[in-house]
């Protein structure tokens, strides 16, 4: 069905279609509309889920963990400080191999209070063992949320999945949305290690130095399996519903001399910059990263990269830049830190980054000359 929706409402609509048994909810700007919409679905009887209005994000993630280990599907949504408040439980969810799906509406962290888009919240959870996907349109938020359940629950993966969408810029914008009848796209959840009182077991029991690393390695093995599983979820989605996604979203990359590498909505704005740059004779392309963890293989050889980072590792550099540089040591790269705390970054600004690129250097937009 074709309709119009905000990014938040698109996520809520996908969650409704995925039919989780338990949704734990705690409000935080700019995510709140997701849990409000789900509350409306549940109250109206359009969604048969147990809605737990928890008292904190720490408890939101924990309630999802408690539900998931019984073998049922669970969902929550958060943003910014809420995500960070969950931090230890994010490690727990991944370590316990629970296929929880969460929408994270990317927002800056205080102080000072700032409710606008930034990727630092998700970046600071980079090493928790969650699969992290970044989206750029209302439609993609819907589609990717549906895919997230299928990916997470694949028995070769059993890792939680975080769907990231930019605060306000995407969470609150209204665009067209085509919802689908998902049929059996997401198979019933089967958790092999679910709690069974008929077959009692200890979960998370004290695990000594001789065993602990084995469980960590299992997480990494699942991560290494995940590209094939995510690709399969994307291919199956394209086959059933006609919209195609991949690890990256490429726009005029094939013959490009310079690639703008970004995540989230900046990737769409970059496409407008690419069109304008090409009119000037600059062969630019846009490479928008959709999978942040697992980090995808990139086809970037022999091109200049202009990397837009919406988050920063103090004392080191841009976080996306860091991931690219450590994978592709020989890459020729101009690192641009832009869009922090909702800083306005237009297609004209992006085109300027490309025109004035200084390979091997870093540039803080709005700070550096």
């Amino acid at each position: 069905m074709l309709t119009v929706a905000t990014g938040n409402k698109a996520v809520a609509a996908a969650v409704k279609a995925a039919k989780p048994a338990v949704v734990a909810a705690y409000p935080i700007t700019p995510q709140t509309e997701i849990v409000e919409q789900i509350a409306e679905y549940v109250t109206a009887g359009e969604m048969d889920a147990r809605y737990i209005p928890v008292e904190s994000e720490h408890s939101a993630m924990t309630a999802c963990i408690g539900a998931s280990i019984t073998g049922v599907r669970s969902f929550t949504a958060t943003s910014s400080h809420g995500l960070l408040y969950m931090h230890e439980m994010l490690h727990w969810a991944a370590g316990a191999r629970l296929p929880i799906v969460m929408a994270n509406v990317n927002r800056a962290l205080g102080p000072g209070w700032n409710v606008w888009a930034e990727h630092t919240d998700a970046f600071s959870q980079r090493d928790t063992g969650w699969i992290q996907l970044f989206v750029s349109t209302v439609q993609e938020a819907y589609d990717t949320t549906l895919m997230a359940f299928r990916i997470a629950e694949n028995t070769g993966i059993l890792l939680p999945v975080m769907v990231n969408l930019d605060g306000f810029v995407l969470s609150h914008i209204m665009q067209s949305l085509e919802t689908v009848e998902i049929g059996d796209y997401i198979p019933p959840m089967v958790l092999p290690h679910r709690i069974d009182t008929g077959n009692p077991a200890g979960y998370g029991t004290l695990t000594g130095p001789g065993d602990h690393f084995k469980f960590r390695w299992e997480i990494e093995k699942a991560m290494r399996n995940s590209p094939a599983v995510i690709a399969d979820a994307e291919e199956e989605f394209a086959m059933r519903f006609g919209r195609k996604y991949g690890p990256v979203d490429e726009y005029l990359c094939d013959d490009a001399d310079v690639l703008i590498v970004s995540m989230g909505t900046l990737g769409k704005e970059a496409e407008v910059a690419v069109d304008n740059l090409r009119k000037e004779g600059i062969k630019a392309g846009s490479l928008r990263i959709r999978w942040f963890r697992p980090f995808p293989e990139l086809d970037i050889s022999d091109r200049d990269l202009v990397v837009l980072d919406r988050g920063y590792s103090f004392g080191f550099g841009g976080v996306l830049t860091d991931s690219i540089k450590s994978r592709y040591r020989d890459s020729s790269l101009f690192s641009v830190v832009a869009g922090l705390g909702g800083q306005e970054v237009t297609y004209d600004d992006i085109a300027e980054f490309v025109r004035n690129r200084r390979m091997g250097e870093e540039y803080w937009f709005g700070v550096d000359a």
Partner: protein, 293 residues
């Protein structure tokens, strides 16, 4: 009164300290709960006494969870079982640190939301698992590794905090009176919605008592009025018979304090404050039972 069943769900291979009343409590809790039960355990002594992976000394599923998280985990679990139409008992078994201090936010939330579960706080009045540091539950005058001169603050009144949530069933117990404990767990599990049982769990190494003294010390706690056994069903308070008898002629508080190394050298003023707190607590409970407040 029903006989306590012979079935054991806590095997004899636990790694608990000798004389541990927390594991003794759990033995009775599981006898009352039976096999269709899941225990949720935050960081506490019970995290350790299960044994080391791949072994476990428990024959019900145990879900270990982060320190602050037990009640929230039980919330999710309880709702999930309900969504499947299962009647599995969800029991949080948490220490005083995980309840009174770091876990109180999640506990308050779960109680307020009417979560169908039983929360048991076994209270050994300190962070036992990390070697006896002071907690909010440590009584005034008690020495811990972080209050080497004796604690100068009073014990946090957990029961009145819980009572403020107006839950259907709340009780206190101690394994020194196992039938009383067993009956209370039975009642709690038969009551829909949230139930809470606060257990005094004397800890031989932490309280500096002999391993064979922990049950005796539990009895002394009741006989001196330091620990009052009661239950409150849908707002109706009833003081339990061991405490009823004890209140007729309370044993002197010194009898309870003097057998514990942690109170060695306690000042007269601290003893006086403990005594006053006991009298105030008993008076309030007696009034409530009589319907006067």
């Amino acid at each position: 009164m029903a006989e306590i069943p012979k079935e054991e769900y806590l095997e004899k291979c636990t790694t608990a300290c000798a004389g541990c009343t927390s594991s003794l409590t759990l033995r009775y809790v599981l006898k009352a709960a039976g096999p269709d039960t899941v225990l949720v355990v935050p960081a506490c002594c019970t995290s350790i006494l299960q044994g080391i992976y791949p072994n476990t000394s428990f024959s019900v599923p145990v879900y270990n969870i982060a320190f602050a998280a037990a009640a929230a985990c039980a919330s999710g679990m309880s709702e999930a079982f309900a969504s499947m139409g299962k009647k599995t008992n969800v029991i949080v078994y948490a220490g005083d640190g995980g309840t009174i201090d770091i876990g109180i936010q999640a506990l308050s939330g779960a109680l307020e939301r009417g979560t169908d579960f039983l929360y048991i706080c076994y209270d050994n009045e300190a962070y036992g698992n990390t070697g006896m540091q002071r907690s909010g539950a440590t009584p005034m005058g008690a020495r811990t590794t972080t209050t080497p001169g004796g604690k100068t603050d009073a014990k946090k009144d957990l029961d009145r905090i819980v009572a403020a949530h107006n839950i259907p069933y709340q009780a206190t117990a101690t394994p020194a009176y196992p039938k009383d404990l067993y009956e209370k767990v039975k009642t709690a599990l038969a009551t829909p919605g949230p139930s809470f049982i606060h257990i005094l769990a004397p800890c031989p190494p932490g309280w500096r008592i002999a391993s064979d003294m922990s049950v005796t010390v539990g009895k002394l706690a009741v006989k001196t009025g330091s620990w009052v056994l009661w239950e409150r069903k849908y707002g109706e308070l009833r003081i339990s018979s061991p405490s009823k008898s004890a209140m007729k002629k309370r044993a002197p508080l010194r009898e309870y304090l003097s057998v514990q190394g942690r109170f060695k050298g306690i000042s007269d003023s601290a003893v006086n404050e403990l005594e006053q707190a006991i009298e105030k607590n008993i008076a309030q409970l007696a009034k409530e039972e009589a319907g006067e407040c």
